[in-house]
Amino acid sequence: MAEGAANMVILAQNDNVGIALRDIATGSLARTVAGTALEARQAIPQGHKIALVDIEPGALILRLGVPVGIAKATIPQGRLVHVHNIASRYLNNDEDHYE
């Protein structure tokens, strides 16, 4: 893949997370086709979410404009957003689900 090609997608305008289209390494740029870019402060595997802004505890995680969970802790911009720092509003999604 060419240097600087898009490796992230933001599904709706007001989303606070982006989705990694490929594995994004710590310290590298996550960028969309439209040119939105930020530094990944930790590794973001393909299909996983990256915080586009600093997210406060209790804030809704917005993907495609739809809430997909609530922040359990402060999630700084560029960090991985996953089961360790967000909770479902419907059912428990703790580590018991890991294979």
Partner: protein, 407 residues
């Protein structure tokens, strides 16, 4: 074919005009067994003519079912069907004469054979094949009329989704749905149990407050039903691929519905009254009964076909291969790895979005092109490979509530 260079309605689609005014994109003959005991004989009758458009469907149960009666009637009078051969054992409870009368009333040739009254397996197979061969001559000679996107009813479905489904092929299908709805087509999406968490967003898209209420209640019903059943729909594999919550998983499936207003909610067999976008309520009404509402992807597809779908757009990440007996299935895959491994089964590759080669909109246009190609008579991959999956089992539904189909 580049559908964006000319109006979508300019496509060279042809259809078979039926007595009720609907048009089919295929002229299939259906051989239908009315209980599992007649399945083998029905298969023996149909199998020599698989490549001639003879399709096998049926209901395995012996006990009466209003739901199965309704779905079988809707399928046997589906616009893609030109003639029907019913195979009964003879002692099952299925209301076979009522079904035959409904098919006759629809203007289609129909024959009903009971195995017990037609010389058992050998006699019934012989009589059945003679009838099929005679009908095939007429079906193949049938003339067609112009078919527009506004004649088309399409269903969307996903199965074996992965971490990229919700960012590549499903949003691409959503874009295709927007294009088709804008062109006057009718589209339905499904699986209320896989839309838990999306209900408030859906309510905001409903064309009336009453419909919004009905959509919210349908998702609540699914949530309650699955809790009572003891089945969760979120687990290890989802987390491994980056999905963090049940509602995030739902959102991946929901992306297939695009962004247009939701015009109504359907139950299996109920047809959309006018073009637009509809939700199919796939969960039983009432308490948990007969187990899991839809035991696999194919049962959900059966229900959308019963509600009139000519075609199904099916998205997959892991690599599903299913087709459908009456409505061709277009397969879209979320990633290039599986596309390369199973290219013979996949009509559209959404993996190019993750590869940075194409956009969601590009792939959405490919999906529309695949729909137009299939509706023009070219077999889809699964259709050409002879897939004709079919499942129908017991369910219970109440009549559609008020507000579900706003005028």
């Amino acid at each position: 074919m580049n559908s964006l260079d000319h109006p979508l309605d300019g496509a060279p689609m042809r259809g078979y005009l039926r007595q009720d005014g609907r048009k089919g994109i295929r002229n299939y003959m259906v051989v239908a067994y009315l209980v599992e005991c007649a399945h083998h004989v029905a298969r023996k009758i149909a199998s020599p003519y698989e490549d001639d458009g003879v399709q096998l469907i049926g209901f395995p149960g012996c006990y009466p079912s209003d739901y199965a009666n309704r779905v079988m009637t809707d399928l046997c009078t589906h616009p893609n069907v030109g003639a029907v051969l019913l195979i009964s054992l003879g002692c099952e409870e299925f209301q076979r004469k009522k079904l035959k009368e409904a098919i006759e009333a629809s203007g289609r040739p129909v024959e009903l054979l009971t195995i017990q009254g037609s010389g058992g397996t050998t006699g019934t197979t012989h009589i059945g094949r003679v009838w099929v061969e005679a009908q095939l001559v007429a079906l193949k000679a049938a003339t067609t009329v112009p078919f527009a996107l506004s004649d088309l009813v399409v269903g969307t479905k996903c199965g074996g989704s992965d971490g990229l489904s919700g960012v590549t092929i499903n949003p691409a299908v959503g874009h295709a749905v927007d294009l088709m709805v804008d062109a006057g087509a009718t589209v339905m999406f499904e699986e209320t149990c896989e839309l838990i968490g999306c209900e408030e967003h859906m309510v905001g898209r409903a064309v009336s407050p009453e419909l919004g209420h009905a959509l919210r209640e349908a998702i609540r019903k699914a949530d309650t039903y699955y809790r009572d059943l003891g089945h969760g729909s979120f687990g290890g594999g989802n987390i491994k691929y980056g999905l963090s919550t049940l509602e995030e998983k739902s959102l991946g499936a929901y992306a297939k519905s695009g962004s247009r207003p939701i015009s109504g909610m359907l139950k299996p067999g109920i047809r959309p009254p006018h073009p637009g976008l509809y939700l199919m309520d796939t969960v039983n009404d009432g308490p948990v009964r007969y187990g899991i509402p839809n035991i696999n992807d194919t049962q959900t597809i059966t229900e959308m076909v019963a509600s009139g779908c000519h075609l199904i757009i099916f998205t997959t990440g892991a690599g599903s291969v299913v087709g459908q007996a009456l409505s061709p299935v277009i397969k879209g895959v979320s990633n290039s790895r599986v596309f390369q491994r199973m290219e013979g089964d996949m009509d559209v590759n959404g993996g190019t979005i993750a590869d940075g080669i194409e956009t969601v909109e590009d792939v959405g246009r490919h999906v529309v092109e695949a729909v137009i190609t299939a509706a023009s008579g070219t077999p889809t991959k699964s259709e050409a490979l002879g897939h004709q999956e079919f499942v129908l089992s017991y369910k219970t539904y109440e009549p559609l509530g008020p507000g579900c189909l706003p005028v």
